[in-house]
């Protein structure tokens, strides 16, 4: 049983309350590989490593079935604003 894009989104929405979330299934449908962009206030004041840890923790249930998770962006809302406009 593969993990769907929705599973990943749900898990991240539940635990991190992101203001922006983009999950891209890069596996071609089998649910093994995802790219993630996530913006959340929870990341405020945290180093990149800690932010990645939060994302990994949020997906701990799905992780065993995911082959590759590439976290492209983990930003705070203030970091995201200038990028969003661009």
């Amino acid at each position: 049983m593969g993990v769907t894009k929705e599973d990943v989104e749900d898990a991240l929405n539940d635990s991190l309350k992101p203001s922006h979330l983009e999950v891209i299934d890069t596996s071609g449908g089998c649910g093994a590989s995802f790219d993630v962009e996530i913006v959340s206030e929870n990341f405020e004041g945290k180093r990149l490593l800690e932010r990645h840890r939060l994302v990994n923790a949020a997906l701990s249930a799905q992780m065993p079935h995911i082959h590759a998770l590439s976290i492209k962006k983990v930003l705070t809302p203030s970091q995201w604003k200038p990028l969003e406009k661009a």
Partner: protein
């Protein structure tokens, strides 16, 4: 030939390198060369002429009538070598300079001698210098050694005599040759990967965790990757190695797939760092992250700041 040479005070190594020019120009007679003060081995240098670089003429001092640039002593002196400007772009540098062994001096824009080096491939070394330190590399003088005379003592002697000549003239050591000036003398070859144990058969006396702990704390930057530094086995590891190398970071590499020397490292390291994947990059004992984190820090310039501390 041999006896003639002995009569003239040559030792066998002189014979070997002079013999070829003697045969090619039988009318000229090789004679003992004035040894520079630092050099007890005569060093035969060819004057480097950009216009004749394709032919790579072998010119002994005994045939000096062929060109006004030719050396008149055993070692082509620093002030006799022609100053050639370094073109931009490493391809053009490699094309412009000879690929043989020799001594070279690099000058900056103001014409100050920055560094005297020796190399078995002068062109490659100059290309590397101008890439690493473009601001300090404006022009260069090259003294090439005879093809079969590129052993280390000869090279070193050539280097010594150029350095001495410069010091005698100016009273200064070129900045790049002063102690601890690593950007000029960074070893071109890659460091070997670190191994945690001598082999699988050896019983460890300390837990693997402690070894990892020691390793990451005693080395400024450590990358745990899949595969070796020179041949990473995974795209993410390769990207991390590429980023670290492009930033010229002096880092240690550990291959987590090496079951012989790093047995059990993957599981232990995941526990130690509480991080599920490889590669893992540690800086001053602290996990910085994997490929995603390193890439995004590199993009934002945060990585440079981190290593500069």
């Amino acid at each position: 030939m041999a006896s003639a040479v002995q009569l003239m005070g040559f030792n066998s190594s002189h014979l070997r390198c002079h013999y070829s020019s003697f045969r090619r120009h039988p009318k000229t007679i090789p004679h003992p060369l004035a040894l520079s003060s630092s050099s007890h081995e005569a060093t035969y240098l060819r004057c480097f002429l950009p216009s004749t670089r394709r032919r790579r003429k072998v010119i002994g001092r005994s045939v000096s009538f062929r060109s006004p640039f030719l050396p008149t002593t055993a070692v082509l002196k620093l002030d006799e070598a022609k100053l050639v400007s370094i073109p931009s772009g490493s391809d053009r540098v490699e094309d412009r300079f000879p690929h043989g062994a020799g001594v070279y001096g690099v000058y900056d824009k103001a014409g100050e001698l920055q560094f005297i080096g020796i190399s078995r491939n002068v062109a490659a070394s100059i290309a590397a210098h101008s890439k690493a330190l473009p601001d300090l590399c404006c022009s260069v003088k090259v003294g090439l050694l005879e093809g079969d005379n590129s052993d280390k003592t000869v090279l070193t002697d050539a280097w010594k005599s150029w350095l001495e000549e410069h010091i005698t003239l100016t009273g200064k050591i070129p900045p790049g040759n002063q102690n601890g000036n690593s950007p000029w003398v960074r070893r071109p070859q890659r460091k070997p990967d670190l191994r945690l144990t001598p082999g699988r058969h050896v019983q460890l006396t300390v837990p693997l965790e402690e070894l990892i702990d020691l390793l990451v704390k005693e080395n400024e930057v450590v990358a745990f990757i899949k595969g070796s530094r020179s041949a990473p086995q995974c795209g993410f590891s390769q990207r991390v190695v590429g980023i670290l190398e492009s930033l010229r970071v002096d880092f240690e590499c550990v291959d987590v797939l090496d079951e012989e020397h790093n047995f059990g490292l993957r599981e232990t390291l995941k526990r130690y760092s509480n991080w599920p994947t490889f590669p893992q990059v540690f800086v001053r004992g602290e996990l910085i992250g994997g490929c995603d984190i390193i890439s995004s820090m590199a993009e934002k310039g945060e990585l440079v700041a981190l290593f500069r501390k």
